[in-house]
């Protein structure tokens, strides 16, 4: 429950709707308690004698009370539930802003699905606490107080008889609630077993078929399926009794009032009208009792969900950002692009010697130079380039840009100066043009055209149904791997950065297209520092400097001819790729 205290400051932002909502609630519920009084008068008057005008007056009173009550109920719901929606909005915003502060290592650690379920169902569960979780208990308190007041004023004896059943009702609700909850969870568990079995079966469908295991798999499934059925029935055994039992208990309450109250009417200790009013009060009291179990459940779920949200909200951002999201200055002065690695070491889980991805990297890259990194998968070449824009921070040594430690540079200034093209060529589901102008939404059409042409995407764009206005993704066209890669290049080039990082970005196009794009890009690369990661020799052969990485270290460095001469790792890679090319052509 303590977790939920965190929500108090959120609620405090809405003092007016909270206060007025509560006032409306009190007025509405106070009015609700009045109607049985009018019934009492009616019946009592009818028992003696009454004019038709008096009856009309009572009828009018009943409607008037209902209208009064309705008016305030409307505001009660609007204001109180409305607050919960506003807080939900704030909470969702804070959660998203927190995600934006997190570094890539955070996203490596947390699965997307897990974060998504926190952002959606956990926020909803917390919202339930703030809306119904506040409104219903408050209603219960007011109605109970009001009804009891009137009931006692009629007869404390009959009040005792009437409320005698209430603790039993509450007990049944709580007791059943917890048993039902447990049995329901055991059903959920079994469902996830069934689901895992189906998942495993479908994933291994080829083995199942190859070994003709269909029958055996069906038998296995049926065992789980039957167990699921059994657990459902175990729940039904309890759950099936719940509502009938509640109805019977509430009915019993009415019978007790009828019998005891009837006796009291006979001995003229109360009037018939008062007895009828009592029926109405008992009716008013039962719903809050039933709702109690539900409210308890809302609080249990809500506090568990708030805990899950807090885990994320309390993570300290790894990279202290000098400018928090939302306060970026428009155009920081660009850097010149000299990059230096000084005895850099790195491991993804911070420290430890065995799993170091990079070690002892010393490298100086002058402004305007093109440096290529080659090596096997896992040799550390991509990781090295990720240290420059501080996607990750070094665990040993220093990375310097323009002679300054990247950790000392304002993050936005550093990143503004780098056009980074990642391996996975991620695009947003917006228009092609929007994606290309991602880093500079106010870019002119000429700038977009230019960047697109440089990336060799212009002829593709011409063929898209709505050119730059074509949507990317589900609601538009699906780009090919090569088109996506070129779009991400255009996106990086558009911001005109002094440093360009291309992380294995032309793997999805054939060698011919690659050469065409590279020659177009050569003008762009000439005037800026370029870091190029690739598997292909053809991509890197024109670089000023080629570094061959293995096991996180730079094993060979030099230009193409020097490295071929050296007859080492690079040379053997070169030979193999020549062979591959030959094979392509046979």
């Amino acid at each position: 429950m303590r977790e939920l205290l965190r929500l108090v400051p959120y609620l405090k932002r809405y003092p007016r709707p909270m206060t007025f909502g509560m006032v409306a609630l009190v007025l509405a519920k106070a009015a609700a308690v009045l109607t049985p009084q009018v019934l009492k008068w009616t019946i009592d008057d009818l028992a003696v004698s009454v004019t038709i005008d008096k009856l009309l007056y009572y009828a009018g009173l009943i409607v008037a009370i209902a209208v009064f009550q309705g008016f305030f109920r409307f505001w009660m719901r609007r204001l109180l539930i409305g607050v919960s929606r506003h807080v939900e909005y704030d909470l969702r915003g804070d959660f998203f802003a927190q995600l934006q502060r997190m570094s890539p290592s955070f996203f490596n650690q947390w699965r997307t699905g897990d974060l998504m379920s926190r952002a959606s169902s956990d926020v909803s569960a917390v919202r339930m606490v703030l809306g119904p979780g506040i409104m219903y208990p408050a209603e219960t308190v007011i109605v109970t107080l009001g009804a009891l007041l009137f009931m006692v004023s009629i007869s404390w004896e009959l009040t005792l008889v009437a409320v005698a059943i209430m603790p039993v009702v509450s007990f049944v609700v709580m007791r059943f609630g917890s048993v039902i909850h447990k049995r329901f969870e055991s059903i959920q568990e079994k469902m996830s077993d069934v689901s895992a079995l189906v998942q495993e079966n479908l994933a291994g469908m080829r083995v199942v078929k190859a070994y003709s295991q269909e029958q055996r798999q069906k038998e296995k499934f049926n065992v789980e399926n039957d167990e699921y059925f059994n657990r459902q029935m175990r729940l039904v055994k309890v759950w099936g009794a719940f509502h009938p039992l509640l109805a019977a208990l509430i009915g019993l309450g009415t019978v007790l009032v009828l019998w005891w109250g009837g006796l009291m009417v006979m001995s003229e200790r109360i009037t018939l009208g008062e007895l009828v009013a009592f029926f109405a009060y008992v009716n008013l009291l039962t719903w809050p009792m039933v709702a109690l179990g539900w409210v308890v459940n809302i609080y249990q779920r809500g506090s568990a969900s708030m805990k899950r949200l807090s885990v994320i909200l309390d993570v300290e951002p790894e990279l202290p950002s000098t400018a928090p999201a939302g306060t970026l200055p428009a155009q920081p002065a660009p850097l010149s692009g000299r990059i230096e690695f000084r005895s850099v070491g790195f491991s993804y889980n911070g420290g430890g010697n065995g799993d170091r991805v990079l070690r002892g990297i010393d490298l100086v890259i002058e402004p305007g130079q093109t440096v290529a990194f080659v090596g096997r998968t896992g040799s550390g070449k991509s990781t090295l380039t990720r240290l420059v824009p501080r996607l990750y921070d070094v665990t040993e040594g220093t990375v310097l840009v323009d002679g300054e430690d990247v950790k000392a540079l304002p993050l936005h200034r550093l990143r503004r100066s780098i056009g980074y093209v990642p391996q996975d060529s991620f695009l947003f589901s917006e228009t092609v043009g929007g994606n290309i102008a991602f880093g500079n939404p106010s870019a002119s059409q000429e700038m977009i055209d230019h960047a697109t042409a440089l990336a060799g995407l212009n002829s593709d764009v011409e063929e898209f149904p709505k050119r730059f206005e074509t949507m990317v993704g589900e609601r538009g066209i699906t780009l090919s791997g090569g088109q996506r890669q070129r779009a991400t290049i255009a996106r990086a080039v558009l911001i005109d950065p002094p440093i360009l990082i291309l992380d294995d970005v032309l793997s999805a196009v054939d060698t011919e297209t690659e050469e065409r794009i590279l020659s177009q890009l050569s003008n762009v690369m000439e005037s800026r520092t370029t870091l190029l990661v690739s598997h292909r020799i053809s991509t890197v052969r024109n670089a000023d400097l080629i570094c061959v990485l293995e096991d996180g270290q730079i094993r060979e460095r030099g230009n193409h001819d020097e490295l071929v001469e050296l007859d080492g790792l690079y040379a053997s890679l070169h030979k193999k790729q020549l062979l591959e090319r030959e094979l392509e052509q046979i």
Binding site: L46, A59, P104, F438
Partner: protein, 604 residues
């Protein structure tokens, strides 16, 4: 997106009939349940009448014994209601849950029958939902929907009947609010449905946005676009909140209006009914009963519209389920009627024949889609007992070749023959039992190591499993495990190393003692020691079988009787290692590229 589809259809008679057909085996339960529901509804009507009797006949006359009798009668009615309701809910749920278990069973069995290409197209996650969530969405339809609809209607009619019986004039007056109540409820439900649709679309948009931003967060950060993305997010968040606030408005109006309407009914009863009491045509108890009944009006009306939503959800799910069930397998074993007897005897002979059969590709061409040929004009015969290594560059069609033998796919042209008989004439089970398949990506089921070797074949003894395990060099590892072969394997074999998984899959193939072995060698690298274990295990596996090996190990290739070089979907070279090397063709280059390094003794 799926949600949006789901809202499309409200009621579809064809789907409904097909759904209700699943209830047919439980007809008796449904009928009993229906009768009970009517009885229970009748019992629910008793309360106000008893109250009326108590007030008019006993309280008014001071008849204590009479009042007690009425109270006891009332209790009896409540107890009967409790017992009958419980029984009704229990049996109806039993039928409903049985129906759903039947459906899950049917869907799962159907999935087992479907052909491999189907699973290439349909993501596993989506198919799992068919068995789980989609079937669960039918829960309410079967357990409460069908039967209680009758109960609700009966309740309404019953209340009206009793009221008319008590005082038809007053009944008509109080019915005056009913049309309004119906209308308000209908309008409200319709509005709420529209708003919910809006909420759901916006939730979907919001979630899609978050998801996309989580995946692309580094791009957002690198380009310094956090602020802009936050603004876009806030806009979606705002729209979502607005839609929800709109739905609050509907509820905030609806509940009070219903409250006012029922107050109007009570006011009418007080005024007109009070007048009738004054006239002496209605008793006081009758008036009280009227008031109590009028409070019971709303429930069934509201429930009825609830049932409408249940129906709608069930329609969407069942449509998806039936679509899956209506998908026919593209790979079907021959039906007895179409097979002529000569083929049949040939197949029978092939099934019964012991020893290794021959395998033949006769002018085979194959494409996964239309004209994208993956294999072209393949002519290849593998003699009984021969080991053929298939080599080729990535994408040459090696794995496809293997898939055709076990009929995961059917060829577009030519024939694949096993034991001299076209695979399309074989009984699928009999065909596949001839084969032992070791796939590149070893799939382990949750269970134990032994159960993964045996794969549920109860004819295989524990000794046979142990023997196979030791034949493929698993002993060394098993001895380090306290529970040996009975060591549990977690989902997808997460706790096993790549080498261990390979050895388990070898043991699996070996213990089933296939006459033909298809081996797609794993490319994942293992340490030198494990590599030696794997090589030895392979030798045991290839012994005395017709074997087709998609080879990545030089040692495997060198052991083969023949090497087949597949290049761009065609067989380009055939021969032994030495012959092909001297030819200086494709194999020579492949050797340089992939296998040469292995000669130095280090695994690729």
């Amino acid at each position: 997106m799926i949600e949006e589809e789901a809202l499309g259809k409200v009621y579809d008679g064809r789907l409904m009939r097909r759904l209700l057909a699943y209830l047919a085996p439980y007809k008796l339960i449904v009928v009993v349940s229906l009768a009970l529901v009517l009885l229970i509804s009748a019992l629910k009507l008793v309360g106000p009448i008893l109250t009326k009797l108590a007030i008019d006949d006993y309280i008014a006359n001071g008849d204590i014994a009479g009042l007690t009798r009425i109270a006891l009668l009332f209790v009896a009615a409540l107890v009967a209601q409790l017992v009958l309701s419980y029984f009704q809910v229990y049996i109806m749920n039993m039928a409903g849950q049985r129906v759903m278990a039947d459906m899950r069973r049917e869907i799962f069995a159907h999935l087992q029958r479907l052909h491999a290409a189907f699973f290439d197209r349909n993501p596993v996650g989506r198919l799992v939902t068919r068995v789980t969530t989609d079937v669960d969405a039918l829960n309410e339809l079967f357990t409460s929907g069908v039967v209680t609809i009758f109960g609700d209607v009966f309740m309404l009619v019953g209340i009206m009947g009793v009221l008319v019986y008590l005082d038809w004039r007053l009944a008509l007056v109080s019915f005056a609010v009913l049309p309004a109540l119906f209308a308000v409820t209908l309008v409200f439900k319709r509005r709420v449905r529209v708003v919910y649709r809006k909420v759901r679309t916006r939730v979907a948009m919001l979630n899609a946005f978050i998801q996309e931003n989580i995946v692309g967060m580094s791009v957002v950060q690198l380009f310094g676009q956090e602020r802009r993305k936050f603004r876009q997010y806030s806009e979606l968040n705002r729209q979502h909140a607005d839609a929800n606030i709109e739905s609050i408005l509907h509820y905030a109006v609806f509940y009070p209006v219903v409250e006012i309407l029922s107050s109007v009914a009570i006011a009418l009863i007080v005024w007109y009914g009070g007048g009738r009491v004054l006239l002496g045509t209605l008793t006081l108890g009758g008036l009280v009963a009227f008031i109590q009944y009028s409070e019971k009006f709303f429930r069934p009306i509201s429930d009825l519209s609830e049932k409408f939503n249940i129906l709608q959800g069930a329609m969407a799910s069942s449509e998806r389920i039936f679509k899956l069930l209506d998908t026919e397998s593209a790979i079907v074993p021959p039906s007895p009627s179409t097979v002529d007897s000569s083929v049949e005897t040939a197949v029978d002979a092939a099934i019964d024949r012991n020893g290794a059969p021959a395998v033949r590709f006769d002018d085979v061409s194959f494409a996964y889609n239309d004209e994208d040929w993956v294999l072209r004009d393949i002519d290849l015969t593998v003699a009984p007992g021969e080991t053929v290594a298939v080599v080729g560059h990535t994408g040459a069609g090696k794995s496809t070749l293997a898939s055709l033998l076990t009929r995961f796919y059917d060829v577009q042209q030519g024939r694949v023959l096993v034991g001299g008989v076209d695979v399309r004439s074989w009984d699928l089970g009999a065909l596949r039992r001839k084969f032992g398949v070791v796939l590149q990506d070893v799939h382990l089921f949750s269970g134990t190591i032994a159960s993964n070797i045996r794969l549920g074949d109860t004819h295989i003894s524990d000794e046979a499993v142990a023997k196979a395990a030791s034949a493929v060099n698993l002993d060394e590892w098993l001895e380090t495990l306290p529970r040996g072969l009975d060591t549990p394997v977690r989902e997808r074999g997460a706790s096993l190393s790549a080498g261990q998984k390979q050895l388990v899959s070898f043991a699996r193939a070996l213990v089933h003692d296939p006459s033909i072995l298809i081996l797609d060698e794993a490319t994942s690298s293992v340490d030198t020691h494990t590599e030696i274990l794997v090589r030895e295990a392979l030798a045991a596996l290839l012994e005395a079988r017709t074997s087709i090996v998609i080879a990545h190990r030089l040692s495997t290739i060198q052991r083969a009787d023949r090497i087949v070089v597949l290049h761009k979907g065609r067989v380009r070279e055939i021969g032994t290692h030495q012959e092909l090397l001297t030819e200086r063709g494709i194999y020579y280059r492949l050797y340089q590229l992939q296998y040469k390094d292995q000669e130095l003794g280090k695994p690729a």
